[in-house]
C-alpha cells in the first residue's frame, strides 16, 4: 500500500487542483481529502455520498445551575478562563480538559462528548473517496485527519487497491502532522514567492522530522523564474527531488469553475502537460506501476 500526500506549507499554492488532476490520471486509487478544515476537493470530485458518519471527539464542560453552589473552585482551576463570572462555560474557550468536572465539590458539571464533524465514504468518477467536514469552530481536526486516512486505508484494503492519493492541509501544525505520518511520500506544491519558499522550507523540515520522504513541484513558476531556480537549489540542498514546474495559467481557475480537473478540461494545455509529467515522475519515485488512461475511462472506476 502506498500513499502520496499533497501538502504545501503555504495555502493556495494549488494542492487541491493538482490532487484533482492526479486523480484524473491515476489508474486505480482511493481519494482521500485530509484538509478537513476547509475541504475543497469534493467541489471538483463531485462525490455521491455512500455512507456518512458522525465524528465524535473531545468533551465540553456544562455547569448545571441547579446543582452549582458558586464556590468558584472551577474558575480558579480553569487555565483558559472559560468559566464566566456568572458560572457559565464559554464552550468556544473550553479546552475539554475536565479539570473543573473532576474537582467540582457539588458534581455540578456535566461533560458530554462532542460531535464535531462528519466523515463520508463516497463514489466519484475518479474512484472511491473518503472525506470529512469538521464542524465550524471545532477542535480535534488532527484526530479527524487521522480518522479519514485510517478509513481510506481500510477501504483500499477491502477493494484491493494499492494506492491512496491524499489532499493535505496547509500549515505545519496538528492537522499536517496527522496528515503526513506514515505516508510513503509527500509532494510539496510551492510557488516562486518569498512566502512560498519560506513555507516550503518549514514544511520540508517537518516531513524530515517525521521521516517522510518529500518531493517538490513549483506551481506558477514563470511568475518569478529566478525564485523558481532558487527553489530547485534549496530543494537539492535539503535532499528533496524537484519533479517539475507548472506555468501560471488562468485555465486552472476556468476548469475549477466548470468543476473539472485540468486534465479533464484541458489535458493538452501546457499546464496540463506539465501536470502529467509531474504525475509520471511522482509515480516513478513512489515505485508505482500505473497505466495512464484517458479521463473518460476514469468514469468507469466510479463503482470500483
Amino acid at each position: 500500500m502506498k500513499e502520496l500526500v499533497v501538502i504545501s506549507g503555504k495555502g493556495g499554492t494549488g494542492k487541491t487542483c493538482l490532487t484533482a488532476a492526479f486523480s484524473s490520471l491515476a489508474d486505480k486509487m482511493i481519494l482521500c481529502d485530509a484538509d478537513v478544515d476547509a475541504a475543497d476537493l469534493h467541489l471538483i470530485a463531485g462525490p455521491s455520498i455512500r455512507d456518512s458518519h458522525d465524528f465524535q471527539a473531545g468533551h465540553t464542560a456544562i455547569i448545571d445551575k441547579e446543582r452549582c453552589s458558586e464556590c468558584g473552585l472551577c474558575q480558579d482551576l480553569c487555565r483558559w478562563q472559560a468559566i464566566t463570572e456568572d458560572f457559565k462555560v464559554d464552550s468556544i474557550t473550553c479546552e475539554g480538559c475536565g479539570v473543573c468536572v473532576f474537582f467540582c465539590p457539588e458534581k455540578a458539571i456535566d461533560f458530554p462528548l462532542n460531535t464535531c464533524g462528519q466523515w463520508f465514504v463516497s463514489d466519484t468518477r475518479f474512484g472511491p473517496m473518503v472525506h470529512a467536514r469538521l464542524g465550524i469552530a471545532e477542535e480535534n481536526s488532527g484526530k479527524l485527519v487521522s480518522l479519514v486516512r485510517q478509513r481510506a486505508r481500510k477501504l483500499a484494503e477491502e477493494k484491493k487497491i494499492d494506492f491512496i492519493l491524499t489532499d493535505g492541509p496547509p500549515g505545519v501544525g496538528c492537522p499536517v502532522i496527522a496528515a503526513i505520518g506514515g505516508a510513503t511520500s509527500v509532494l510539496i506544491v510551492t510557488e516562486p514567492t518569498v512566502s512560498g519558499i519560506h513555507d516550503l522550507e518549514r514544511v520540508a523540515k517537518l516531513a524530515a522530522h517525521f521521516n517522510v520522504p518529500a518531493m517538490v513541484c513549483v506551481n506558477k513558476f514563470d511568475l518569478n523564474p529566478d525564485l523558481s531556480w532558487s527553489i530547485e537549489k534549496i530543494a537539492k540542498e535539503m535532499g528533496l527531488s524537484c519533479i517539475g514546474h507548472i506555468p501560471f495559467d488562468p485555465i486552472f481557475t476556468i476548469a475549477m469553475v466548470e468543476a473539472q480537473s485540468i486534465i479533464e478540461y484541458a489535458s493538452n494545455s501546457i499546464a496540463g502537460r506539465a501536470v502529467k509529467e509531474i504525475w509520471e515522475r511522482a509515480l516513478k519515485t513512489l515505485g508505482l506501476q500505473q497505466q495512464a488512461h484517458s479521463p473518460q475511462l476514469a468514469a468507469g472506476f466510479a463503482n470500483v
Partner: protein, 279 residues
C-alpha cells in the same frame, strides 16, 4: 480597535491585505502575525527585530521518588498525556494541553511542571509600525497557545491588525476571538466561495462584525458577489488581478509602495471598517 484578517481558504491574499492596510494607516498601528504555522508578513514588512523570546507551555514532570503509582493523573488526563503502566508513570509531553489537572490531582505532590517549547515570538519595528509574530517550532502540533501569546502584545491605545491563519478551526478562532472586526479576504472562485462561507459561519458564532475584500476580483465567477449580497456581507474592497501585483508579491514587495494609488484605497478601507465598528 482590533481588526483580524481571515479567509477560510489559504492563499487568497490575507497577508497582502494585512500588511498593506497596516502600512497605509501609518502611525499608531501594530501588526500581529498570528499565522504562526507559516508566518509570512515579516517577509513583506521587513521590520528590524529588536527582541526574540522563546515561548513554553507547562507540561508535567513526575518525581519518581514521591510517586506511589496511584494512577489518578492518568484518570484525569483527557489527552492521554500521562499514564501509569505497571510500575512506571509515563508522560507524553507532546500530547499535553497544559491544563494542570495531573498536578492538581496528585495526592503525593509528585508532579511539577516544566516547559515544552512552542516556538518563538519576535517583535520589531518599521518606522512607526510595531510588528509582532509567532513562529511555531517545526514538529510542534499545537498552535493556539502560541497565538494567544502573540495576542498578549495587543495594546488598547493602538490600532491592532491581526493576520490570521487559513481554515476555520481552533487556530483561526484563537486569532479572531475578541477582535472588533473580521475582514475576510477571498477570491471569486468555487474554492474561495466554499471556504468563505465556512469562515463567515465561524465569525457569526463569535458574533463579530465583518466585511469582505475580493482579491483577483475579475477571475472566476460571480457567485461570491451573489453570496455577499444575499448574506449582507459588505464588500469593502476589490483588487483586480494584475500580473504586476502577483510579481511584486513574489519578490516580497508591497502593493502600496509599488502602486501608490492603492494607499488611498487601503485608507478608505480602514475608514469603512471604523464606521462599521461604530468608532
Amino acid at each position: 480597535m482590533i481588526i483580524s484578517i481571515a479567509s477560510g481558504k489559504g492563499g487568497t491574499g490575507k497577508t497582502t491585505v494585512a500588511t498593506n492596510l497596516a502600512l497605509s494607516i501609518g502611525e499608531g498601528v501594530q501588526l500581529l502575525d498570528c499565522d504562526v504555522e507559516e508566518p509570512n508578513a515579516h517577509l513583506f514588512v521587513r521590520p528590524k527585530f529588536k527582541r526574540t523570546e522563546t515561548v513554553f507551555t507547562p507540561v508535567p514532570v513526575v518525581d519518581d521518588k514521591k510517586c506511589n503509582l496511584c494512577g489518578k493523573c492518568g484518570e484525569i488526563c483527557q489527552f492521554k498525556a500521562i499514564v501509569v503502566i505497571g510500575d512506571k508513570v509515563l508522560s507524553f509531553p507532546e500530547l499535553c494541553h497544559s491544563c494542570g489537572g495531573c498536578m492538581a490531582v496528585c495526592p503525593e505532590d509528585a508532579i511539577k511542571e516544566t516547559g515544552r517549547e512552542l516556538g518563538i515570538i519576535q517583535k520589531g519595528f518599521l518606522n512607526g509600525l510595531e510588528f509582532v509574530h509567532g513562529k511555531l517550532r517545526v514538529g510542534e502540533a499545537m498552535s493556539p497557545p502560541l497565538i494567544r501569546e502573540v495576542r498578549t502584545f495587543s495594546r488598547d491605545d493602538k490600532i491592532t491588525i491581526i493576520d490570521a491563519p487559513p481554515g476555520t478551526s481552533c487556530p483561526v478562532i484563537a486569532s479572531m476571538k475578541d477582535t472588533d472586526f473580521v475582514l475576510l479576504v477571498t477570491e471569486p472562485t468555487p474554492f474561495g466561495l466554499h471556504d468563505l462561507k465556512l469562515a463567515v459561519e465561524a465569525v457569526k458564532i463569535l458574533g463579530i462584525p465583518r466585511g469582505l475584500v475580493i482579491n483577483r476580483s475579475d477571475i472566476g465567477d460571480q457567485n461570491v458577489k451573489a453570496y455577499a449580497s444575499r448574506d449582507s456581507l459588505p464588500i469593502l474592497m476589490e483588487i483586480p488581478f494584475d500580473r504586476r501585483i502577483a510579481e511584486a508579491y513574489s519578490r516580497g514587495d508591497m502593493i502600496v509602495e509599488m502602486m501608490p494609488e492603492f494607499k488611498e484605497k487601503f485608507v478608505k478601507l480602514y475608514q469603512n471598517i471604523k464606521e462599521l465598528v461604530g468608532l
